[in-house]
């Protein structure tokens, strides 16, 4: 459906905007895994990430009426997904003591790292306040700039930088305590 990975054609956008199922499916095939990964890291839960993805695609045709085609589609879609994930995060008010979904834990063959270390990391991420974890995920996992993060979250660039610093500090402290 798309000529270049990550770049949706105008025709595809037009058809998705009109709600054509095959156009939505093409976008889903192209971007679904990346969006799922983003939503999972933001919400910390596979079930919530699935709900986020569900809501994004359920509302995508209407949201596309606000999409300017001179911008890259992939980043726009990730920004939309981030905002829906944040809404989800706030609505569910995830409790820190609830573990990440063990049953839905992704299988990552050859990912490296022993199970104990992965478990420590998960615990550390879980302890991190949402605001800090989101900035960390967007910056360090998604590779967004502080300006992009600030635009998505509605905060100042300086605030984004401070939160990243605190997130790293917090993760290191939690990992050290865990050790």
């Amino acid at each position: 459906m798309t000529a270049t990975p990550g770049v949706a054609s105008s025709d595809l956008i037009v058809r998705a905007r009109a709600g054509h199922p095959e156009a939505l499916e093409a976008i889903y095939v192209e971007h679904g895994d990346a969006l799922m990964r983003l939503a999972y890291h933001v919400t910390g839960s596979a079930a919530d990430a699935e709900d986020v993805l569900h809501d994004v695609f359920l509302g995508l045709p209407e949201a596309l009426t606000r999409y300017e085609e001179r911008g890259a589609f992939g980043p726009w879609l990730r920004r939309v997904t981030t905002r829906v994930a944040l809404d989800r995060l706030r609505a569910t008010r995830r409790r820190r003591e609830v573990p990440l979904d063990g049953a839905n834990e992704p299988a990552t063959p050859g990912s490296g790292g022993d199970l104990a270390h992965r478990s420590e990391l998960e615990r550390a991420l879980r302890k991190l306040p949402d605001a800090l974890r989101v900035v960390f995920v967007l910056k360090e996992i998604e590779g967004q700039t502080h300006a992009e993060i600030a635009g998505t979250l509605g905060i100042r660039i300086g605030t984004s930088e401070v939160r990243l610093h605190r997130a790293i500090k917090g993760l290191r402290r939690y990992l050290k305590e865990g050790a």
Partner: protein
Amino acid sequence: MTRHSDADQAAAELRGAIEALGAPRAPRGLIGRVAAERARGLRAAIRGGEPASPPVVRRPVLWGAAALLVVGLVGIDRWPSVEEPAAEDAFLGGCGMNADARSWLAAGSLLLAAACAQEPDQSPFEPAAALAELQAGTLRPGTWVYELEHAGRFLSREVYRLTPVRLIDGLQWRSVNTRDGTDRVLADTMYYSADLRPLRQAWHTLRDGKDWRIVELVYGPTTVQMTSDYVDYRGPTPQRRTWWSRTADIPADPGPIVPGIHSPGLVYLMRLLPLRAGWSGSVQAGPFGTATFRLTSLRVVGEETIRVPAGEFDCWRVAMGAGPTGFQTLWVSKAERLLVRSRIGPEARGLEWGLKSFTPGD
């Protein structure tokens, strides 16, 4: 300088470690479920990227939002206190989705205004010349069973059971509907007046046998109140929490109302329409997630004999223009006015409901 170096090094270590955690892949059946839900008229009001252009401001919408705002601020003291996250967690304070109920209400009102202001004015389909008129007295109880397929793959089995409810002051119709076939089961109950005007509806999305989301619609004379709740199972006792709530205005002199594109309401409506060669009429489809109804045109465009799991039927082929969601084709049996097939999208890759059985009720 040293502190920055340490931070950069720590970030690099953590980045590598967290990437190694991986993430689940996008579930394969999700997009089919989304397509089916959109076909039924469900929408999600999500926040998109930057607006393409300044929204068209509609004065009534702004007045409505202002009214909601005032009501919310005046009545705020009666709101139950909500859990306040740490100050650091209020990261979207500027966008209004703070944990404070007051700003939540204010932001909700403004978002509602923004969403409605950008709603397209017109359906791309030309409405029929007149509102559809219903034939009185042709609605009968019964049970319809449909199979929904997407691109030829089975998605779900849908059962609509229509029964009369005799009240002191008249008759109502109750439709109990279930949809299964995925990991989530959708069950809803709809009530209609004797002339098939929707009265109220409650959708329950069940997951592992438990309530997951609940959407309720209560129809008044001029408005529809829509509330979407979810059940939070994370605490010691399950708690029902509101996800969103909004009000849709019912158009003046709306004609028949069809809740959703493919819904029990559409199935029952077919029994009451005076279909014949060349007939056309309009109905109001909705309300959709953006709290709007869409004037939707129905036209008899041909006759066809088709085969579905329930058997072979001589049908009217009806084209339905349903706003930006595309074009839907309905096949309605001439003899009993059964909706025996409906399709959205191309034949090979679209969504298709086929009648599996129909059992007349008592």
